[in-house]
Subunit: 319 residues, 4 copies
Amino acid sequence: MKGVVHMRFEVFGESHGPEIGAVLCNFPAGIAVDFDFIASELARRAGGNSELTTPRRESDNFRIISGVFNDVTTGAPICVIIPNESAHSGDYEETKNKMRPNHADYPAFVKFGGHSDYRGGGHFSGRLTAPITAIGAIAKTFLQTRGIAISSAVLSPSEDEILRAKADGDSIGGCVEVTANGVPAGTGGIDTDSLDGVLAKLFFSIPAVKAVEFGAGVNFANARGSAVNDQFCVSGGQVRTTTNNCGGIIGGITSGMPIVARLTFKPTPSISKPQHTVSMPDMRETTIEIRGRHDPCIVPRAAVVAEAMLALGLGGALS
Amino acid sequence: MKGVVHMRFEVFGESHGPEIGAVLCNFPAGIAVDFDFIASELARRAGGNSELTTPRRESDNFRIISGVFNDVTTGAPICVIIPNESAHSGDYEETKNKMRPNHADYPAFVKFGGHSDYRGGGHFSGRLTAPITAIGAIAKTFLQTRGIAISSAVLSPSEDEILRAKADGDSIGGCVEVTANGVPAGTGGIDTDSLDGVLAKLFFSIPAVKAVEFGAGVNFANARGSAVNDQFCVSGGQVRTTTNNCGGIIGGITSGMPIVARLTFKPTPSISKPQHTVSMPDMRETTIEIRGRHDPCIVPRAAVVAEAMLALGLGGALS
Amino acid sequence: MKGVVHMRFEVFGESHGPEIGAVLCNFPAGIAVDFDFIASELARRAGGNSELTTPRRESDNFRIISGVFNDVTTGAPICVIIPNESAHSGDYEETKNKMRPNHADYPAFVKFGGHSDYRGGGHFSGRLTAPITAIGAIAKTFLQTRGIAISSAVLSPSEDEILRAKADGDSIGGCVEVTANGVPAGTGGIDTDSLDGVLAKLFFSIPAVKAVEFGAGVNFANARGSAVNDQFCVSGGQVRTTTNNCGGIIGGITSGMPIVARLTFKPTPSISKPQHTVSMPDMRETTIEIRGRHDPCIVPRAAVVAEAMLALGLGGALS
Amino acid sequence: MKGVVHMRFEVFGESHGPEIGAVLCNFPAGIAVDFDFIASELARRAGGNSELTTPRRESDNFRIISGVFNDVTTGAPICVIIPNESAHSGDYEETKNKMRPNHADYPAFVKFGGHSDYRGGGHFSGRLTAPITAIGAIAKTFLQTRGIAISSAVLSPSEDEILRAKADGDSIGGCVEVTANGVPAGTGGIDTDSLDGVLAKLFFSIPAVKAVEFGAGVNFANARGSAVNDQFCVSGGQVRTTTNNCGGIIGGITSGMPIVARLTFKPTPSISKPQHTVSMPDMRETTIEIRGRHDPCIVPRAAVVAEAMLALGLGGALS
């Protein structure tokens, strides 16, 4: 038996389909929707803005077709639709049977019996993070009404490293830190409802994420308790900790300190260098050279997506 | 709308309650239950076995009260009950209002309005990993019938480092790597059903886990695509990759390579050194000295728990 | 902990919004999509076809924007979009503060703080059953590949009774029986995963459904066990029952006999006769006369929706 | 993506196992547990109290082993354990391969490959409603703190009809009406989260329930809108309806009127008359005579179970 109402979402669409989108269910009613803010968040995610990113230009002219009336959420499912543009599907015909290394091509081929839309990664494309960004923007607005602010920082790589990878026809991974300030203590759940677990599940659904850390994360491995225990104090009439090594979550529940998570992204799998691979379904070894327009590093664009997931996860925990 | 049948579990009990346990639902019927194997897995988790662990002796005389008939699973919910013994509840009376740093005391106090059982961490105790270990052992047996083997390795700390921390009245964190060999390609899901996300959600429900990585994990942050892309080959009539930086999961779906995950644990929060903290509900700053018997490092005992969670997660994905 | 992959769907849109739709997730890959069949199912549901139904003409020019490639399902979420046409929003301005009896207006007003789209019932409109019908048609095609056929019969009211209600400016309720032939024995679940419960949950999400029965249903209340026990026999090499009072489900699991369910619909709430009601938020008693175009009886149109829900529920149980 | 915390429960155990029980998760903290009330609810459900019920005496000495501390709920999972007594397992050996008509024997045999515990219905036994009754009693106490009262009435059969069925070695079905007074308007959800659907899913998980109606239920089939529309008024400063044909739920959301549901139970399948059936796995036609102690009618005992499910469903919707 499960409770009646919980916030949830689904994303749909393919890189080279006509439209992509997301539906956000059980979102609170009465939240003013800021269309300019959604557009600005989509612009943060969109490519084509600098030499750091793919030349593929995504204008992301989103429309909200449900769940919003007179610019305010109604409580009914919110569906955001974004048309696809600028699709060069021909780029993918030549290599459609070749499994691109580190892409989902091969696992998806096995799982779905070769029925996936192979053009540009299909449903596995990073393109699908656009509607997540859009509904994440709506979730951020809800959180703001609760005094919660989401932010992020790209910890690595540097702009220099990205440009060097690009010059080499290569790609590079990186790390994003996301923070939620203002989350009240006592938010979250226990056991498999632990908030860190719920957030991690969402973070790992972002393409290319391979590690999720909270607070000191992997650095706890060599740490002494006496050095990293967050000791409590009272400050400004509130219980706080003098450090925040736990990243705002202890035992699956928030402590009232900022939630701090780090997401590590693997390098963009698509590189212009030749790579060994196999073709399917004939299982023949071959070589692949991936053409088309690709980011040398998705991390700068992914920061807003990580923020969106944090906002959606917290929105679910607080609504 | 959600599908009818999915494997799931709940854990229940408190550190100083009469009994703890777990119920495992929608587990496949017809799996022979190996009681000796469950006992040996519980022994791996139990303390009191060496100078590395807590002197608290847990004999873990489990009983299975449902879902097993003539030593074979029936398909009905499997309930494992483990009696608690050796409880020194008095150890906790003195400090019951003092929030122990890095324990769930304070977040739980806020969430549950001070109603939690404070003795030994109550439901948040690592003690609750015993029933998880027991049902994980049953899940491992199911996976074995599918040709899947689960193993683990403690990557850090060394035995020496643990003993040094103990000598200092301190504690130390660490890292466990868990591996699943033999998982067929094409297992898992997409979007928020991604297998890495599902597993991470379970891993983060283990007390003290603060980071979850798959494959190269955090090391992807500084890596070039050309260096870390797992290139495909055909070996023994099967599609394989020559490296396994993705840790067996790409796009949320298994690749047929071993699933490799790393879990970082924070140091045992309970240390004998005095720490600053607050008492609740009066919000007064104070000092706490935690007595009682505590592990200087839970990582050696936690390895089998991490294996159990991997087994339960994969069991759910494959059943 | 819950399993990774389960079929599920969401519907979105409002009666007078630009578009409505549904997204169907974790649907099996490799199923050929029959666009003509979807259109014919939508035509069964659409009004304007006879004097029995609303003069509002719905052409239902659906499009599938994701999850289908080369007319075959890919395994990715399937999103169906249907544009709204023929909206006379002005019909609703006059009565927008008046809570229409037996409509969701008042409960929704309280739940959503008056933010709902009031035009034509908004998200609560029977219009939303169009995308359910569309994805139900896709689910039926999947079931056909498993040898399962879904059908329905309107048990009441007769065409005469509908016409008499219409002539009186009134409306009338009715009952639909849905049947699934060919469902293999052993499908379903136990406890809260019982298949009858899962199906009932879906059936009650159809607007106006107020009773769900399986097999002999309410007639069991006065029946003797000796009269209604379905006795087993062997027929054609298969275990069958000589009667099917249980409607194909016993203990939450299918028996191999046809699944038979009956859904009772309340009369269309919108009638042209004056009714007592209140206005909100001022809580003033008043009178309402509902204009606009309304079905005297939705039951003939609802039969295909009931079939769709049965197909979606069984699809989830079998995939 | 789903929200973090929702009330849910699992039941476990078999009719002839050592113990049965239930675990109730995410139940609110701070609710005083009334052990006498739980016992009195279990007594309502227990047999052996009159000539109307089975001579099997169930004393139901329950114990709560978790989630309650100092007689108050803690917010951690609440596990109730009830020992089994008075088991005459030998009664079932003779007929263990014979599929009892209208019991779950055959569907379960197919689903679980013949591994079910066949003694007394195993996990499918009505015995499992005892722990549901116990956690339902706890849920009722929570609802009382919100001003909600649950009650029930046996609509049929009469005591006379039960005694006549018993005299004939037969059994008889019946109908229970359950009511929840005091549920605030605006409770519930939309689409597949509709409260009537959520409640129906729980009701159908009670063994033998074959129909669930809300308000006028099946009587809507022949009703005119003008006759059954619940017209609104203002009474005592609150919006009410002058009738309650909708049974307190419209569009999946509560109206503030009492929730009224009716559950129809099929007759106890176990009758002493000889019945045709098949044996498994050999699929041979045969005859079965069911001995042992059985209720001629479970309906009087089932009323409290129906109340418990209503309480659990509403508890989930309100917590």
